[in-house]
Symmetry: C2
Subunit: 337 residues, 2 copies
């Protein structure tokens, strides 16, 4: 076979011989131990460079019981949010010298979560980042009694695990506040599936903001995040015309709503204002350009990894980190007629 390495890779021993020291000294240099004289360190480093030595991770893991690998357990990786969160995790991990392994859930259930977690334990990961934005994820993980640290994205960190989240409730309140400021009184909400943590939090934020302003919170419909569901719901709303503004749970559903309104002759924003959530890159090119709530997913991912590193290396306890969303006002909102 073409790839079975004919030439053996150099080991510590080889480097040691070349540098005229013991293999342990080489190990010290590699691992930046303090008590190595400058002269030796340089000699060893030269030998490392000459031989092109790279340390063997398997051997190291075997003895240290650390794989320097983080498992990211994710569903919906093809979506903008999770994909970017993963990117943030990967960036922070690689910068810190960690490897990132992934397991994608084909369907979200306690079983599939358990499968993926077992997969990671077999691999010997040092920690797990759960990027599964469903209620129930926490419980599904807790019963497994994993003995590695876990950071749950979207969790507010009540349980045994650490959490990292974007403040969804705040995001929803910002959206509603923006609409109220413009003078809207009848503000509806098209939410994501309520078994998603974020969907529930956004709905709650919407409800709270309305209640506090003394407005009714009866215009509520649940969608499934897809543009298709937004379209279907939008068609109904176009007929009813009960709200002057709609806060939609994500940009994709908002796209569907926009199309339904467009087809029905409901003008946005003259007749109805629409606010989305996420600010995916296309949102500025919808018709009309979408006012929405931006979440910094990459930052979220980086924070996850920071928490993980704290758990792993500083022995910190579980905690939570919160990223704030912000409004991006475009052309899909305006004062009511």
């Amino acid at each position: 076979m073409a790839y079975s390495s004919e030439r053996r890779l150099p080991r510590l021993e080889d480097v040691a011989e070349r540098a005229g020291v013991s293999h342990q000294t080489v190990s010290r240099v590699i691992n930046n131990h303090p008590n190595v004289s400058k002269a030796t360190r340089e000699r060893v480093e030269a030998a490392v460079a000459e031989l092109g030595y790279r340390r063997n991770t398997a051997a190291r893991s075997l003895v240290t019981r650390r794989s320097h690998t983080i498992g990211v357990l994710a569903s919906e990786l093809s979506q903008y949010g999770p994909a970017n969160t993963l990117l943030g995790v990967e960036q922070a991990a690689r910068d810190a010298g960690y490897f990132v392994s992934i397991a994608a859930l084909r369907e979200v259930s306690a079983d599939s979560i358990a499968d993926a977690a077992r997969h990671f334990m077999d691999q010997g990961v040092d920690g797990i980042v759960a990027l599964v934005p469903h209620t129930g994820t926490l419980q599904a993980l807790e019963v497994l009694n994993l003995d590695v640290p876990v950071v749950v994205v979207g969790s507010s960190g009540e349980g045994r695990f650490s959490g990292a989240m974007v403040d969804q409730k705040l995001g929803a309140r910002l959206a509603v506040a923006h609409l109220i400021e413009q003078g809207h009184k009848r503000i509806g909400h098209i939410s994501g599936p309520q078994d998603w943590i974020d969907a529930a939090a956004r709905a709650e934020g919407w409800r709270e903001a309305l209640t506090e302003a003394g407005l009714a919170d009866d215009l509520f419909v649940e969608g499934d995040w897809s543009a298709g569901s937004g379209y279907g719901i939008g068609q109904k709303l176009a007929v009813e015309r009960s709200a002057t503004a709609v806060f939609v749970g994500n940009d994709q559903m908002a796209l569907g709503v926009l199309r339904a309104f467009g087809e029905a002759g409901v003008r946005v924003p003259q007749d109805v204002s629409v606010v989305g959530f996420d600010d995916q890159p296309e949102a500025g090119y919808f018709m009309p350009p979408l006012t929405t709530v931006r979440q910094d997913f990459e930052e979220l991912g980086r924070r996850c990894m920071d928490m993980m590193l704290a758990l792993l290396e500083d022995g910190a306890g579980a905690g939570t980190t919160v990223v704030n969303p912000r409004m991006v006002v475009r052309a899909s909102t305006a004062p009511p007629a």
Copy 2:
């Protein structure tokens, strides 16, 4: 610290003792070696289950020199296509008992590719799947002289490496054929950046199809894949009105074009037909719903992993696998006025 496992995990030796056999016999059972009697096998399996034994990957890797890990080197992971390809790779990998490690490129360059590849070599991956759809990726990888198999997505597999690709040229020809069938004579193309393999292939397919039909291929503009660039180019096209149909390099740019046309009062499809590429989930909810070319990214990912497994386990040589795209006709195309 909370997670340093107090209780030692069971090893082969522990299972062996419990089952009353040697550790090697347990190893044989674990690895499905043929010559183990049914009685022993059952006894061992019982012991494994009772102790909750899981094999130590590091130890195994150390001696076999196989990590059972595949590295996916990717850029643009937040895009629909690459993200779904990754999903396909992950699925096929996990089913085959492999782990998937990722390295995302923050910026595409020979250096960053080399960095990521080194990262994977440090980890000891068994193979690398390169999901970096730029021309130049192949060369950047080739000079590294990696001694693991590499599968390059988007490559037609000329070099030392295996390739897996969607037939982009075919996709472009399908799109153009569809427009020609409808009677269009002036068919423009908004392409992706020409240093992307796929963008170049789609442009070439467009050109070939036009030439074969005896039509002019002079209406060509290069975008950057983003909705914004599509918007900018769309604005110009709306003024010029040189083409009756535009084949756009991806759905996102098509979204921008649609908006530019909408704002300029150019009706789609009555005045100009628009075809996209990718068929991302939102394409059916654009205004109007977009006719586009569908690529099965997950299938592509699965095929990558299949090739990798063939290279790894059957000692097969480098090869190529091609996935065919297909037309999805919606409302953005119609015969010219």
